[in-house]
């Protein structure tokens, strides 16, 4: 309980005495590149293959003659939009971005760089962490939209190239019974997950003490705790919004 309390106090410090807006803007842009742009490649690879595998495995299981083959595309689309793109992508990002944030801040802590900021009278948590949290909340939804697109494209490529579904059936399937609200739901999830990943990882890194071993531990804990929080939040969001 004390850790949770400390986490919320830490979140409060992010909005304490701040610096000049121009400083935050520059930091935000740096973090958007570091967190968002640098994650495009891994998100693209993971999403394309997950979409491809979803299509092949759905087709493999859907053998009933009374179910049209276009249902494969419909299932791939809904799986991507509702779960795979937001949740799996964010779990991948928890590994990449979360460990990066925790190790960066942990190293800054043990090499006294955070102390140097505090001695200058700079709100170190606000200066270092707030741009990371905002950047994650801004870029994760964009990455998830990109991921959903590539996942559905991956399903299309795998399905049509292997011959399990025709191009015509796939294109019909992904447009059939489309619920626009699901797109909204897909974007809410990474917004929340981005906040959780960036804030939890920052919290773990920010309060690291010791040496290289502790930085490694903080990084591992950041990923573990972020993944657990994503799964819990995923359930709660589904319960609340669907």
């Amino acid at each position: 309980m004390s850790v949770i309390g400390k986490y919320f106090i830490f979140l409060g410090t992010l909005f304490g005495k701040g610096e000049k807006l121009s400083v935050y803007w520059r930091r935000l842009m740096e973090e958007c590149v570091g967190i968002g742009v640098s994650s495009i490649f891994i998100v693209a690879i993971v999403s394309t293959f997950i979409g491809a595998v979803s299509c092949i495995q759905t087709a493999y299981n859907l053998v009933s003659p009374i179910i049209p083959i276009s249902t494969v595309a419909l299932i791939v689309r809904d799986m991507e939009i509702l779960e795979l793109a937001p949740t799996i992508t964010c779990i991948v990002l928890a590994g990449k971005v979360g460990s990066n944030i925790a190790s960066e801040l942990g190293t800054m802590r043990i090499t006294e760089q955070i102390d140097a900021l505090e001695v200058m009278g700079i709100n170190s948590s606000s200066y270092l962490v707030l741009p990371k949290v905002v950047a994650a909340m801004l870029t994760f939804p964009m990455l998830v939209i990109f991921s959903a697109f590539l996942g559905i494209l991956g399903g299309y490529l795998a399905g049509t190239l292997t011959g399990v579904i025709t191009e015509r059936d796939y294109l019909y399937g992904i447009r059939d019974s489309f619920v626009p609200y699901n797109i909204f739901f897909m974007c809410v999830k990474p917004f929340v997950f981005g906040f959780l990943i960036a804030s939890i990882s920052s919290f773990k890194g920010f309060f690291t003490s010791g040496g290289a071993l502790e930085v490694g531990k903080a990084s591992t804990q950041a990923v573990t705790n972020s993944c657990i929080s994503i799964l819990v939040a995923d359930y709660l969001l589904a319960q609340l919004l669907l």
């Binding site: 200058m120 009278g121 700079i122």
Partner: protein, 248 residues
């Protein structure tokens, strides 16, 4: 002038500092010496506001750092320059950006003014050629000098140095000591140096305080330190065989 009164600090019930009081004069290099684990760094952190003491106060020209409003505390912080043990340079910034950082964050100076000030500080520590290099590309001694340049860029009234010679060869150590002493005298700064380097003690120790197990056991100037009759200080000073033989 900095005055500390009755500073005490304990961690998990273990007393690290036991009622330390002292005065550090303007324009002097004040040294806090002692063996490892005697509380030197904790005392420094209490003075610069990184660790809050359990008891006591720290006065900066009469302004109580821990019992004043936030604005006064902030203005005191802006009068401080700190050289950390490892330099504490920001890895993602060049040498020039590291030195310019306090100006970017805390002042409204024009880019030209900042450029001039950074160039002056880098020139002062003899690193104008290394301005565009990253911290990972420079030596330990250069990192310390960049740390000094960053510490003095805001024209501090108080300069704190945490073991400025640690990890440096004797020649570089002497250069760093001389640089700190020159800057202290030139700008009339109140400088406090944490060290256990005997060369520093003998070369630049204008006012020396010896800590032992969280207590202040001795205070004086470098010319008197070798005449001490405090056994713990004698043991500390003459732990080196050569110095012991010289004393005999």
């Amino acid at each position: 002038m900095i005055e500390i009164n009755n500073i005490s600090k304990a961690f998990n019930g273990k007393e690290v500092l036991k009622g330390i009081s002292a005065q550090f004069q303007k324009g002097e290099t004040n040294l806090i010496i002692g063996g490892s684990g005697t509380g030197k760094s904790v005392l420094l952190k209490c003075m610069i506001g990184l660790v809050k003491p359990d008891e006591g106060n720290v006065l900066y020209n009469g302004r109580d750092f821990y019992h004043c409003d936030k604005e006064t505390q902030q203005s005191i912080r802006r009068e401080m320059g700190v050289l950390f043990q490892g330099g504490a340079l920001f890895d993602s910034k060049t040498v020039e950006e590291n030195v310019r950082f306090p100006l970017d964050m805390l002042t409204t100076q024009s880019p030209e003014e900042k450029r001039e000030r950074v160039a002056f500080c880098l020139q002062r520590v003899g690193l104008e050629q290394a301005a565009k290099r990253m911290p990972s590309e420079i030596s330990g001694g250069m990192k310390k000098r960049v740390g000094i340049a960053r510490a003095i860029v805001m024209n501090p009234a108080y300069l704190f140095c945490d073991e400025p010679n640690s990890g440096l060869d004797p020649l570089t150590s002497v250069k760093i000591d001389e640089l700190i002493k020159e800057i202290t005298e030139e700008y009339k700064i109140t400088t406090i140096i944490i060290t256990h380097d005997m060369n520093s003690v003998m070369e630049i120790g204008q006012n020396i305080m010896f800590l032992y197990q969280g207590n202040k056991l001795w205070e004086g100037v470098n010319t008197d330190i070798t005449k001490t009759d405090v056994p713990e200080l004698k043991e500390f000073l003459f732990s080196n065989k050569l110095l012991r033989e010289m004393q005999e």
